[in-house]
Symmetry: C2
């Protein structure tokens, strides 16, 4: 459903304006803009991955239009953690203004810098840590430790003349995380005492009842599977999941196996995590792929990417027998990851392929090899109760999850009218402890396809979907302007319609006749002749085939 | 992975040959051919629904090629139950030979006849029931009651000179089904005592641990939700799920609500089920849609289709505010169905849409509103133990599920070498208590698109995928054969590539130049000139856009 777009009033001094450009009403491309007294602060600049109705799109960016001519007023970008849906669009923002300072934890900034290097951008960075305070013009920032599926994640407190905002970024409340770095509920409590005027919680799992299981419960499962594995073990997971990889390393050591990291992003990210001390690599456990391939089958674990069935990733290529690691009878594959909606068929194709090759495939469906990185309903209740926010604006979720998160807030005593369930582009003004919706911007999707940004539009995607469903028929014909007599053609080209070209034999004469008739009826222009061709072919394809391919007439007057 | 295709030897008298043409290595288009002494028996003729990599395909049929010139030897088709993946392709088979007798239960045949009516085919039908025996030439058939997510399902026992085959069709072992018609384990035990030489079990849920919950556990949940619902209730489920609808009718009555059936297939199937007494309709509970729309909100339940997010189905249209039933604040929607892999994003879009409209959406993810129709691992173990088959050929499943089913057989004592995990087109010969693979036919996908059957090929689908990912650029140019000088054009048409036509301005002169150069290099034929255009545009698009659209040059020599 389209939403009503309307402009907000001019921003009055001392009022804080909050505008999410992404991540509200969707899972991905998180980006929130804060403005007060003419200055802007941005929290996260992520990418969204396309769904099946966005074919050929590589990435989807937040729509920067709302801030394009305000870039000089941006005092900084805070990055809560190093996942693509929070940092992936930073290179595209910095291409608009390269010297925007980036604030984030050590690991987060290291991952961003590696990414920016590939885009040949050298950013200005400011490393911050939990407990730290930073002044950015009218914005007084405080950083709070949160636990997530990547280390060193931070929530950010934004204090301004308008009040206190707590923006969690992605988080969960694992009480026994591998790095003992828990979500700082003491800080949440202290902030609650001080008074949180606006709370923006990660709501990804707000519709999941109960509590997220402990990450450390996965280690023993992986260890048992590896201990029982007669031959090679391949573990696939997310290339940024340092603690998951840590557990695989430890399980490998316990079973006297070496580990080879496979896949560009896995090698790059774990290299960074190890250099900075977030990944503890036991001496001698890591070997390169070449060495690994020469080790005995029962002495190696391959740690790879591709747990979502991505066709070009390592695991899918193994499943197609198209990788140097040849999976065979007795091998064990562990998919230590979630199954992101929309990827099911791709993942099941990979599982079937690996099973056919003789592998025993262990996954979420048959073993505890994954836990989510997001707080479930039970954990969110803890947060709402300990913070007791005056206003709640659930973010990081589709509409159903934002609604669920707001319901949890209401159950803990937040007045319903102080919960805001909205979508990208909503304009919130915070003033004297009350947050109100004062506008709704029209924020679109910005598609990255190949090297082009924003060149592909929704109209192009609509065409692509039609082409995918029906294919096309193009008709080239050169005619005499006066008589409509065909001089060259009709030359018919079709793709995705029918392999046998002879199907068009009976429509060609109809086209010739239609052009002559159009001329008799006084048509003299290209448009009129094209319409005649379109109508003729359209009628023919509908009656003969009950199909609706795209019809593209090209009539040239010679 | 491609599988090795090889012809089976000529079939010797007294040997039973089994060839699955669908449903083995996939979920859908179930069809198995049995042959002995020159006569054929077919069990099920279903359709498969396309996945996202088969865009625009309406249905996928089993490949009839293997039996196309044997149709006169077919003594009959046994239909185990009335689901589309078991009966959906019957009309297409009967178009090849209309007088093949169809055997099945009352409900199954009634559903088939309704379907055939739409295809204007009047079949020859023979109603059979559990416990019944039928002689079909060399095939002695016995029918056994099984419980499934549609009433009146049958397993079939095929006795021939070669031994006894038990073909379950889809089934589960609900011990307290609504119609008290349980899977007949006594018959399975008796057959086990007699000796089952070949067992073909439904393996859809073989990789699901434990037991399928009781269908009747859903009723109370639905009843509670309806009891609490302040306004309208909309329940969406499968249009053939008689017992699910029965529970909705009963829950509606208990809450003094009327029920309106919405959606063509729902109305048709439930009409049949009610006429035959499978659906017990409490007096006066059913009303038509027009009446329903005039009833008070808290007095009506709409029972609709579309639980899989099918864009054209009732529920998706409601979610888009594009249906006479206008969903609003306080309405309750129950998705009483499974979530078939691949449909997740579509279903979540529907849930988000309904939530935005103010509806409370109850689904599998947050309530017990669905149980599967297939036996889980625990139930299959009962079957294997009570039947103790000599040979096991798991069917109805993807490779991972067939493998899981075979493993269960092995755990109950079936020798591994007597379990056959194969794919469509495998040729099994049963002789003296031993089933062996003796061949592998090349069985393809037969695509139905619009009114065409088999016209769309895999090559067309590949083209469609490329068009979907990248769009196309077609270049029309008329040239002088000798000089390559352009007389008309280059006329460039593109779709799904870029909305702004001006992107092509810089490539047109390159095309003109390339054609002239081609002529200088001695090119004189259309193909050579076309290649020159293709190379030029391909190089341009790759360097300028890093993309790979389909490039279609049309060079005409004037």
């Amino acid at each position: 459903m389209a939403i009503d777009v309307y402009d907000p009033p001019a921003l009055t001094p001392g009022v804080l304006r909050v505008i999410p450009l992404g991540g509200v009403g969707e899972i991905g491309r998180n980006m929130t803009v804060y403005e007060i007294d003419g200055k802007l602060l941005i929290v996260d600049v992520g990418v969204l991955f396309p769904e099946e109705h966005q074919p050929g799109v590589d990435l989807i960016l937040p729509d920067f239009a709302a801030i394009r001519d305000r870039l000089d007023d941006v005092l900084g970008v805070v990055l809560t953690h190093g996942h693509e849906d929070h940092i992936g669009a930073v290179p595209y923002l910095l291409k608009l203004r390269q010297d925007i300072p980036l604030y984030g934890s050590r690991l987060t900034l290291a991952l961003v810098e590696a990414k920016l290097k590939e885009h040949r951008v050298a950013p200005i960075t400011r490393v911050v840590a939990e407990g730290e305070h930073t002044e950015l013009g009218p914005f007084a920032l405080e950083f709070v430790a949160v636990n997530h599926s990547i280390p060193d994640a931070l929530a950010v407190v934004v204090r301004t003349a308008a009040g206190l905002v707590l923006h969690t970024g992605d988080f969960k409340m694992d009480q026994l995380p591998l790095d003992a770095r828990i979500t700082d509920l003491r800080a949440f409590a202290r902030l609650g005492e001080e008074g949180v005027d606006l709370f923006l919680p990660d709501s990804t799992n707000a519709d999941v009842p109960g509590f997220t299981a402990l990450e450390r419960e996965i280690g023993p499962t992986i260890e048992r599977v590896i201990a029982k594995a007669p031959r090679r073990v391949i573990v696939a997971s997310f290339s940024s999941h340092v603690h998951r990889v840590q557990q695989v390393l430890d399980a490998a050591v316990a079973n006297e196996r070496h580990v080879a990291l496979v896949g560009r992003s896995m090698v790059r990210n774990m290299g960074i995590a190890a250099d900075l001390g977030y990944l503890k690599v036991p001496d001698g456990v890591l070997v390169d792929l070449k060495t690994a391939l020469e080790l005995p089958d029962d002495r190696i674990v391959f740690m790879s990417t591709g747990s979502q069935g991505e066709p070009m990733a390592v695991l899918a290529r193994m499943a197609n027998n198209d990788h140097r690691i040849e999976v065979g009878q007795g091998d064990t594959v562990i998919l230590a990851s979630s199954l992101i909606p929309g990827n099911e068929n791709a993942v099941y194709r990979v599982i079937n392929g690996l099973t056919k090759l003789g592998a025993n495939v262990v996954h979420k469906g048959n073993a505890r090899v994954h836990v989510s990185g997001h707080a479930a309903a039970g954990e969110l209740l803890y947060c709402y109760n300990i913070i007791r926010p005056r206003n709640v604006f659930p973010v990081h979720g589709e509409y159903r999850q934002l609604t669920a998160s707001a319901e949890l807030a209401v159950e803990t005593g937040v007045p319903r009218e102080r919960t805001i369930v909205a979508e990208n582009g909503v304009v919130l003004d915070l003033h004297e402890g009350v947050a109100n919706v004062v506008g709704q911007l029209d924020v679109g999707y910005v598609y990255v396809d190949g090297s082009t940004v924003g060149e592909i539009t929704d109209a192009d995607l609509k065409d692509r979907r039609i082409l995918a469903e029906e294919g096309f028929i193009s008709i080239f014909v050169a005619i005499d302007r006066q008589t409509g007599k065909v001089i060259v053609g009709p030359e018919i080209q079709a793709r995705g319609f029918a392999e046998d070209e002879s199907v068009f034999d009976d429509v060609r004469p109809q086209i010739v006749a239609a052009l002559a008739e159009a001329a008799r009826n006084g048509v003299t222009d290209q448009h009129g002749y094209s319409q005649a061709v379109r109508r003729t072919v359209g009628r023919w394809v509908n009656t003969q085939h009950r199909r609706r391919p795209m019809i593209i007439p090209v009539v040239i007057e010679a």
